[in-house]
């Protein structure tokens, strides 16, 4: 990784050491607190948990994508020595609506049973679970459960979902979102059309799902797992178990890094149920294959576009049909669809936009949250369209984009004015101005740099270089009226501060950021971050880049309140206002230098506490014409990808990706670059490798051999050309979330580059070798 400034040069120490060389406060780049333990292999993951006398859980999953359950016989499993409990849907308490097989659940729409009752709707759906005194016994017992299925026809083509018989009492349509703005009869001189397809990307977390449930003496249960939404998960678990929420405690442990929701609900409810049933702690770790079955993946999408433009490439009208395959259950499909629709034109101005978007139910694996859900699929389509337009009118792809980019204040097709900073043209110029990497050389020593990799069959004579550009956008925080709020508590005593906040650090670096915020506000270097659990106040899920904003905002407010409590008496003593005092390096000083008092002394042995909330301004749902102020803020990025393609074998090597991103304010520059690298790597993976395939609804490659994650060799050189800092006035610190937008934009940029290298249309992601072979 190269960067314009070598921000990583400062000596780094353990995050908790308050040494003088430790980077300090906002704008510096301290090392992430979990980085060293994870690199050294001493970080405790959920799979490492242990409790005295624990039992092991295992789950029976459906081998069918769609089938009626005629009967379940658990007697053989129960008879196996060492088995303590076997549970099915009938063991769940009746749902609030009286449904006998337990309350269905889900993040937005509750339509997903914890254990399948009566019917299974996707391959791998949990049907029954076992607790036994040994993991092998549990798995053996699972094999002894006899389920009689009547296979039903599986609806696996999302286009068939409209006419197929309902797969669920809620029907097959999760949401239809029409968007209409401008003149439907507007027409341009130039028309380009395209059909675009995006495959199923899986978060494929290296740490597979694992957790421990411990029954409590009060009849409740304590769950230790790597949840990214402790309160949401607690509430949904409690509902499914028929318990009061305060009887369920969720302790967040060992999050291995998450780019989506961690832990599906079925996993944790089943775990809790087994613990309640047996009265013993129960631990469950999923296999790699189960992990692919259990968490949600990215929505496969089909997008049909028609762009109308003037002869000079100015957009006149965009028409689109977008179809997202939501799989068997609703999850967050409605929200993903809103993003796909609202950002269907991209960061470009277009007066006339007509979109119909649908998210449908099929018997494919359920799709859910995954970095830039909805926005990513649209980005691939609109950017492909702009490449086509550029080719048609014979101008450079950068130039066509320049002629159409939006700026701060311009409206989205939803009618919402983009009031946050939107310096899209500057981002594009920044990546376009960067020097290009050297061309491949015909030299045996450089053979490993050829497409196909080291030891591959690369032949320099068949390699073509391609350069592609893409602009991407994605919203931050919950949309369409969702209540966004986080609460945080800050405490100061002696020479250190503590932050208590239930925001989960899922690898996005929230804990590090919270420490920096408190350091900046209170001037103390030692800041402890308490582990998150559901007994703390609600901070919401770690998704949509919301913790930097909402939870970071709450931490800052709480810290400012503590600061006030600390300084108020001193200011009064000295007859000056609080504003004239400052805290730095553990010392309170006055503007005139008369006062210089260590924080510990000012505290006089007292502890100061403050709790604060952050609640961004409200949003509203999109109406029946797709209009409304649905988003709090939007992040933008520009990317240039350079690829080499072996046009005979279709092997693609991404040589370099250059990024320019609008970050509002760089709170931790190195962490931002880390997040950009992670996003680009994930986007490159989707562009070239990652596709969780299904055959008739059955997962074809649920393993890390079959599901190809990018390795270091597949990941390009990633250069950050610019981090533009234009403060977003409504955001705490003026900072924007940074993780999602690089992942949204990278697939489109790579596709554009492969298009440039091969002259092929490239309408499908991931790009298979056969899609990049010419002739």
């Amino acid at each position: 990784m190269t960067s314009p400034t070598d921000i990583g040069a400062a000596p780094q120490q353990d995050g908790d050491a308050g040494g003088t060389t430790e980077p300090f406060g906002l704008g510096s780049s301290p090392l992430r607190s979990d980085a060293l333990p994870k690199a050294l292999g001493i970080y405790p993951y959920a799979a490492d948990l242990w409790a005295e006398g624990l039992l092991w859980g295992a789950v029976l999953r459906s081998p069918h994508p769609h089938a009626r359950i005629l009967g379940i016989d658990t007697s053989a499993a129960l008879a196996l020595p060492g088995v303590h409990a076997v549970v099915t849907a009938t063991d769940l308490p009746a749902g609030p609506d009286g449904s006998p097989d337990g309350a269905p659940s889900g993040p937005i729409v509750a339509d997903r049973p914890v254990l399948a009752a009566g019917v299974v709707r996707h391959h791998g759906e949990p049907v029954a679970a076992v607790a036994a005194d040994h993991p092998d016994t549990a798995r053996l017992a699972v094999g002894l459960i006899v389920v009689e299925y009547e296979p039903l026809e599986a609806v696996t083509d999302p286009e068939q979902a409209f006419t197929a018989p309902p797969l669920h009492p809620d029907g097959n349509l999760f949401r239809h979102l029409p968007l209409r703005t401008g003149d439907p009869d507007a027409a341009g001189e130039i028309i380009v059309e395209g059909l675009y397809q995006v495959g199923r990307q899986d978060p494929a977390p290296l740490g597979a799902e694992a957790g421990l449930a411990v029954p409590r003496p009060d009849g409740g249960v304590e769950l230790h797992l790597s949840s990214t939404d402790p309160h949401g998960d607690r509430d949904r678990t409690a509902t499914c178990l028929g318990l009061e929420p305060d009887r369920v405690r969720l302790v967040v442990t060992g999050v291995p890094g998450a780019t989506s929701d961690r832990e599906d609900l079925s996993f944790q409810v089943t775990l809790a149920l087994l613990a309640l049933r047996t009265g013993r702690p129960v631990k469950m770790t999923l296999t790699r294959e189960e992990s692919f079955h259990t968490h949600t993946s990215r929505h496969p999408a089909l997008l049909r576009y028609r762009h109308h433009a003037d002869a000079d490439g100015t957009l006149v009208k965009v028409e689109a049909q977008i179809l997202l395959d939501g799989g068997a259950y609703a999850d967050v499909s409605a929200e993903a669809l809103a993003a796909a629709t609202a950002f269907s034109v991209g960061p470009y101005n277009c007066p006339n936009v007509f979109v119909d978007a649908w998210a449908v139910r099929t018997n494919n694996p359920p799709a859910g949250r995954m970095r830039g859900e909805g926005a990513l699929q649209a980005c691939f389509a609109y950017e492909s369209q702009l490449d086509q337009l550029a080719a048609r009118i014979g101008v450079d792809p950068v130039e066509v984009r320049r002629r159409n980019v939006m700026a701060t204040g311009d409206p989205l097709p939803t009618g919402q004015a983009v009031t946050c900073p939107a310096p899209v043209a500057a981002l594009l110029d920044a990546v376009a101005a960067e020097p290009l990497p050297a061309l491949p050389v015909d030299d045996p020593d450089a053979e490993w740099l050829l497409p196909g990799g080291p030891g591959g069959a690369g032949d320099p004579a068949a390699v073509r270089r391609g350069i592609g550009y893409a602009l991407g956008m994605v919203h931050m925080l919950g949309a369409e009226g969702e209540d966004e709020v986080a609460t945080a508590t800050v405490r100061v005593s002696g020479d250190h501060a503590t932050v208590i906040c239930a925001a989960v650090d899922a690898g996005q670096g929230f804990a590090t950021l919270a420490r920096q915020i408190v350091q900046s506000v209170l001037g103390v270097s030692e800041v402890y971050i308490a582990p998150a659990d559901s007994d703390q106040a609600v901070a919401g899920p770690a998704a949509r880049g919301r913790h930097t904003w909402v939870s970071g905002g709450a931490v800052e407010r709480a810290a400012l309140m503590v600061r006030h409590q600390l300084l108020q008496p001193i200011a009064a003593d000295f007859g000056m206002s609080v504003e004239l005092l400052q805290i730095a390096e553990g010392k309170i000083t006055s503007y005139d230098g008369v006062l210089g008092m260590p924080v510990a002394e000012a505290l006089e042995g007292k502890e100061l506490w403050a709790t604060a909330q952050c609640r961004p301004h409200p949003t509203e749902p999109l109406d029946e014409a797709g209009q409304g102020d649905a988003f709090v803020s939007i992040a933008f990025c520009a990317m240039r990808a350079v690829v080499d393609v072996d046009i005979e074998l279709g092997a693609v090597r991404v040589v370099e990706v250059t990024v320019a991103q609008e970050v509002g304010r760089a709170l931790n520059p190195r962490q931002i670059e880390d997040r950009i690298e992670a996003g680009v790597a994930q986007g490159v993976g989707l562009a070239l490798l990652e596709d969780l395939r299904t055959e008739g609804g059955v997962l074809a490659n649920p393993s890390l051999t079959g599901y190809r994650l990018p390795t270091a060799l597949d990941t390009p050189e990633i250069r950050v050309a610019a981090l533009l800092e234009e403060r977003d006035v409504v955001a705490p610190f003026g900072a924007k979330a940074v993780s999602a937008v690089p992942a949204v934009t990278a697939p489109a940029a790579v596709a554009a580059a492969v298009r440039a290298a091969t002259g092929l249309p490239v309408g499908r992601l991931p790009i298979r070798p056969e899609d990049a072979v010419t002739g």
């Binding site: 196909g452 591959g456 069959a457 074998l649 092997a651 190809r708 270091a712 060799l713 597949d714 298979r768």
Partner: protein, 288 residues
């Protein structure tokens, strides 16, 4: 069990018929972790130092120990001896796997995408199989096709490879830059003494395939006495020939070799294109 010599290992296997030999365990542990294999006991081969090296026989043959790791085969001294095997070893997975994964394990696993297999097929190598009190010599191709399989209690000890002192090439298409199994691979060796080209295609069928007619045809196109030149059109034609011979029209369908279809399937066309490019490039490099 951790025998320190070949004899001890063979005896251990005789005494414990249910025991399974294990070398680098890169295939074996995968099967165990996935629950496909529950060995009653293991006979570890890692301490048998004699199997970790090679020796020469009759001047013209290298006898390779089954315990040679991929990493060892990739080193320059070995690469000078059997270049195609070194090429295959270099691509057989990520470094961590190649540091412990062995030649013997690759053969015994006999995966369709096993990278050393097409090379051994092209070299017409043979293996020594040892049991308590008996050894036998079997051509690699017989072992792989099941004509003469590894029997219970038998240990693969040596791999006999002719030294050809001529260019050899192994090329692998994977569809990615990082380490991966082959979607198709081609091994090609020149045998100037016999004026022969031998070629094997890996990963397209359960065992490596030899396009014998294409081999014979192209051998006739080469100027063996001069600079071993060949008409580029012949190189390209060789690629097509190999591809057509090794990828049936019905590729991708069940019973692909028997199926009567109207022209090649889309999958067959794609795979043929890849195999043809690999074979053409392999021949081009060998004759460069």
């Amino acid at each position: 069990m951790l025998p320190a010599s070949l004899d001890e290992a063979v005896e251990a296997l005789a005494a414990h018929p249910a025991a399974v030999p294990v070398a680098g365990a890169t295939d074996l542990m995968e099967a165990v972790n996935a629950g496909r294999l529950r060995p009653a006991s293991l006979v570890g081969l890692g301490r048998i130092t004699e199997l970790r090296g090679w020796r020469y026989e009759d001047g013209g043959t290298a006898v390779l120990g089954a315990g040679l790791t991929h990493a060892r085969m990739d080193r320059p001294d070995f690469a000078a001896l059997i270049p195609a095997l070194a090429d295959a070893a270099r691509t057989a997975g990520p470094p961590q796997v190649r540091n412990v994964g062995t030649l013997g394990g690759n053969i015994a696993t006999a995966a369709p995408a096993g990278d050393t297999l097409p090379v051994l097929a092209a070299l017409e190598a043979s293996v020594t199989l040892a049991r308590a009190g008996a050894t036998r010599e079997v051509p690699v191709s017989h072992l792989l096709t099941g004509l003469d399989p590894l029997r219970p209690g038998e240990l693969l000890t040596w791999v006999r490879v002719p030294l050809l002192h001529a260019p050899q090439v192994f090329l692998k298409a994977t569809g990615r830059s990082g380490p991966a199994r082959a979607t198709a691979s081609v091994a090609l060796v020149l045998d100037p003494a016999r004026r022969a080209v031998r070629c094997a295609v890996g990963a397209v069928a359960p065992v490596p395939l030899r396009p014998l007619e294409a081999e014979a045809w192209v051998a006739g196109c080469i100027d063996w006495d001069g600079s071993r030149e060949i008409d580029p059109a012949a190189t390209a034609a060789f690629g097509e020939y190999v591809a057509a011979a090794c990828v049936p029209d019905g590729y991708g369908a069940e019973g692909a070799w028997e199926a009567v279809t109207e022209g090649p399937s889309a999958a067959a066309v794609r795979l043929r294109r890849t195999v043809a490019v690999l074979a053409r490039r392999a021949l081009g490099r060998a004759l460069k």
